[in-house]
């Protein structure tokens, strides 16, 4: 038995179920990160002093450029499918995967720099919220990479069986990925610059 409304739109919502589902999921993600940002504001406003310059701005800026570039390659992976260009889609999706891997490598260097100096989350309130926010964001990056790896690998077979459903799935992956980029757009100035 097929799952209904994976490709065709529901008459009541005007959307397929996947599209509404991913947006509801993203709405819950907004509240998750919102709670942590709210915590950050409370911690920061109640702290007598707040450290500046503890994080490497060049590394943070490079990671911002990487994530923005990955958002462009992700939307291009979807657009290529719409244009029926499978080879370009593969190129852009693999590109997005590699860019996200670069992001994590940078993060690894950043984390190890702090941890080798004994500056873990236990060291200060600032580092506690820094590791919590960036750690959760990093987990989202890994989650996105797992989904992309699936569509680069075994999940790619769906393109031959049901191309429209495959295009939808790439679109939903893209929506998630852009959200992860969007969160970083706020994390970078809040943690690295202010």
């Amino acid at each position: 038995m097929n799952i209904p409304y994976t490709v065709e739109t529901r008459p009541d919502t005007g959307l397929n179920n996947g599209k509404l589902g991913i947006w509801l999921f993203l709405a819950s993600e907004v509240m998750l990160f919102g709670a942590l940002f709210s915590t950050y504001i409370i911690l920061r406003t109640s702290a007598p002093v707040w450290p500046h310059g503890e994080l490497s701005i060049p590394l943070g800026a490079v990671n911002t450029v990487i994530l923005i570039s990955s958002s462009v390659t992700m939307v291009m992976a979807w657009a290529s499918l719409k244009l029926n260009d499978w080879a370009k889609h593969r190129l852009y999706l693999i590109g997005t995967f590699l860019l996200s891997a670069f992001f994590l490598v940078n993060k690894y260097f950043e984390y190890s720099e702090h941890l080798t100096h004994g500056e873990g989350p236990w060291h200060s309130t600032f580092l506690a919220i820094y590791f919590t926010l960036t750690g959760l964001h990093g987990l989202h990056i890994i989650g996105g990479m797992v989904v992309m790896a699936y569509f680069i690998g075994p999940g790619a077979a769906l393109w031959k069986r049901n191309p429209e459903q495959f295009v939808n799935r790439i679109e939903f992956t893209g929506l998630y990925w852009h959200f992860v980029d969007l969160v970083w757009i706020f994390l970078f100035p809040v943690l690295y610059l202010l």
């Binding site: 709405a27 509240m31 701005i57 923005i68 570039s69 657009a79 029926n84």
Partner: protein, 118 residues
């Protein structure tokens, strides 16, 4: 899919331009940090730039500039709850229940009490 393809072909150029604009705004954010503005001004500027960047990602990459009503509806609800969530720090900061009154009058009374005790 042909009509779709034509629209997508036009959108590709927009995606590239938005990508470039996002990189430029990132450069502006970092450059503004080098100006060493006062903290309130720096926070305001950084958050304004971040909001512009986030709006561009949401509107163009996530196609929110032309979505269905159901998605707008669920997002409006999210925004309402998000505003409530962001108000929590404000209420926490302005909350004075259970805190000691440390105004000049209270200090004077405390001093008077100590004096009477001696």
């Amino acid at each position: 899919m042909h009509v779709d393809a034509e629209a997508v072909r036009k959108s590709v150029r927009t995606y590239m331009m938005i990508g470039a604009a996002l990189l430029v705004f990132t450069g502006i954010t970092v450059a503004a940090n080098l100006l060493h503005l006062p903290v309130p001004a720096a926070i305001t500027l950084a958050l304004i730039i971040a909001s512009i960047k986030a709006s561009m990602v949401a509107a163009v990459f996530m196609h929110l500039n032309h979505e269905k009503q159901w998605i707008y509806g669920s997002l409006i609800l999210t925004v309402v709850f998000f505003i409530v969530l962001m108000s929590v720090p404000f209420f926490t900061i302005t909350d004075t229940f259970g805190t000691h009154v440390t105004g000049p009058a209270a200090g004077h009374e405390a001093a008077a009490g100590e004096h009477a005790g001696h």
